[in-house]
Amino acid sequence: MDISWFIVLSAFIFCIGAAGVMTRRSPLVILLCLELMLNAGNLALIAFSRMVGNVEGQIFALIVMVVAACEVVIGLGIIVAMYRRKLPIDVDDMAELRG
């Protein structure tokens, strides 16, 4: 398969994730869509790594996976804290820090 196929597929997945982040309101689903975007980035990184025949892009993708895991842990911790304080699980109602 040509590398460009993988890049276009990664663009598709990234845009689906971006649309999800902008339209959904549940923070759980927004976190899932962020995962989609990060994974699209990973796919592009690995495709480019294959293109130039260098393993460094795969290391980059591995670090992105670590960052994604950290983001999930903190995000889910915030959601659990919101639930504990009986706050609505809805990003539109949590607009206190809006600039």
Binding site: S4, L32, E35, R50, A61, M65, V72, V73
Partner: protein, 199 residues
């Protein structure tokens, strides 16, 4: 070659179907399951790109560990039982998909019109051990030692942060909810106790 293309279209279709499912499904639990299917399809694509170690890590770490965390939180918070209002009403709701479509068109134009001649090839010639655990480990522990250590430190910070966020909070002077044995012992003695009798 034909087998490779067939595998690409099966896995790519699975990945896109999973992604669309994550966005469109109403129940967060089904969204999580769609994301698991998406991640496994991506692992197949990683294998096609000869990234064997990352494909394994994707299945074990992502589809295994991280998604279990999601399932637990969805079960705890309670999913979609209280769908309060219809999802995103108003003119803002239409802007998101339009923006995403514009972004997609722009990205596709960028890929198609790119001057990278290697994009239309199957990639550089690589040996059998490209992307193997040995090659990844070698790069991680020699050239990329500092990012590797920074990643481990980041994971530690995230773990501590999760504990701080999820712990039960109490005010400084608020009495504890539960009465412990020590509280019962420390309470005032009833009238006519031993001390008065002696005095």
């Amino acid at each position: 070659m034909f087998f490779e293309q067939l595998l690409f279209f099966i896995a790519g279709g699975g990945a896109i179907a999973g992604a669309v499912g994550v966005v469109l499904l109403r129940n967060p639990f089904f969204s999580v399951l769609a994301l698991v299917a998406h991640l496994i399809s991506l692992a197949v694509l990683f294998l096609l790109l000869t990234a064997a170690f990352l494909a394994a890590a994707q299945v074990v770490v992502y589809a295994g560990a991280v998604m279990v965390l999601y399932v637990f939180v969805v079960a705890y918070v309670g999913g979609s039982d209280d769908e309060l209002r219809p999802e995103t009403a108003g003119p803002l709701a239409a802007i998101g998909p339009i923006f995403a479509a514009a972004l997609l068109i722009e990205l596709v134009i960028a890929v198609v019109g790119s001057g990278l001649s290697l994009l239309d090839s199957t990639g550089a010639k690589v040996g059998d051990d490209f992307g193997s655990p040995a090659a990844i480990g070698d790069a991680l522990l020699t050239k990329f030692l500092l990012p590797f250590e920074a990643a481990s430190f980041l994971l530690l910070i995230a773990a501590v942060g999760a504990v701080v966020l999820a712990r039960k909070r109490r005010g400084l002077h608020e009495p504890a909810d539960a009465i412990s044995v020590a509280d019962v012992l420390r309470s005032e003695p009833p009238a006519g106790s031993q001390k008065e009798a002696i005095g």
